[in-house]
Symmetry: C2
Subunit: 200 residues, 2 copies
């Protein structure tokens, strides 16, 4: 054998062993059920990840509902494209330092939760996205017990994706998949403004 052939043979043998291990793990993961995904942390990418899942779900012909709890702008790229293919509710009125009115924020959040709760009680929705919900709990706009109960009692096969910084510990506990997005570096801190098509 040439050196190259020998190296390739060793590589193939090593990878065959790795494949056996990975295939066994995949075979073990055979439960089919609705899951809850929590995307939290202070890094860029939480909402865009949720919207990528919206695109995936729509691409498979699934029924998707989106509620945006804090955002109040309707000129976003995500809504322009994805909002054509699913139910999309922009129900926020901005962050609390924008509104400076706790009572009004609370009423807005409660109205948004009413829409979310309707979806979480309707098995025809395959995927429900609750974008920036975490803030409504950390700012105490919404009653945590009601939120957790509605999330946990949703239809068995329904997926739900929750985004936002600083999720309360109970959201970590009830989620099946939790990703914490850590901000290692952000263009914004180098003086670059939020870019159309990436950040909105």
């Amino acid at each position: 054998m040439t050196i190259n052939t020998e190296r390739n043979a060793r590589h193939a043998a090593r990878m065959a062993r790795k494949k056996a291990v990975i295939d066994a793990h995949i075979a073990e993961a055979n439960i089919d059920t609705g899951i809850m995904i929590l995307l939290t942390g202070n890094g860029k990418g939480k909402s865009s990840s949720a919207f990528g899942m919206v695109a995936r779900a729509i691409g498979h012909g699934l029924k998707v509902g989106v509620v945006q709890f804090i955002k109040n702008r309707t000129d976003t790229g995500e809504e322009a494209l994805l909002g054509k293919h699913c139910e999309w509710h922009v129900m926020g009125d901005g962050f609390t330092w924008e509104t400076q009115n706790f009572e009004a924020d609370k009423l807005k959040s409660e109205a948004a939760w009413a829409v979310a709760a309707r979806m979480l009680n309707d098995a025809s929705y395959d995927v429900v996205i609750l974008d920036e919900l975490t803030y409504c709990l950390s700012y105490k706009y919404l009653d945590k017990d009601i939120i957790l109960k509605d999330l946990e009692s949703r239809p068995e096969m329904q997926h739900v994706v929750v985004t936002g910084r600083a999720a309360v510990k109970e959201l970590h506990e009830i989620a099946d998949t939790v990703t914490v997005l850590n901000d290692e570096k952000h263009a914004y801190k180098a003086g670059i403004k939020a870019q159309k098509g990436l950040e909105w």
Copy 2:
């Protein structure tokens, strides 16, 4: 003043101070330029975040190109929806433990990079997505110096998004925004299989 009115007034004053600080930061971030975003780490959400940005960019009428370096399946939800609105290239042949053939993987990666390099040399592309590129560098399928040079010499206003686990340190260095997605919990480890519409 009632207790409630007083509490609301204190809240409003505190939030007005916070808004002044945040607005000053936003005013400082006034540079408009193409940025590079790196999404790495072992948590769920890297590719879906990139695809959410594809949706955003398409929604704003921007021109987007996508190259998938490892994935070889073309039945994904993301391609079904987003592939209708942009240039989408699935150019991988699976992870190295699937193929068990280093030389073939290297040739596939080089062919994929040729497509990526063409886009990175064409200012008509507003956003270029290099999905799972990181593996081609950590597995040494591609020459790191060429990749870094092509990324850095791209058109000034072009955005590029790179995804994948274990990005080499040079990718961290040249990126403007780096998010590290940490896997706190994953449904897969609890025996739940990859769910259509969320993970593919």
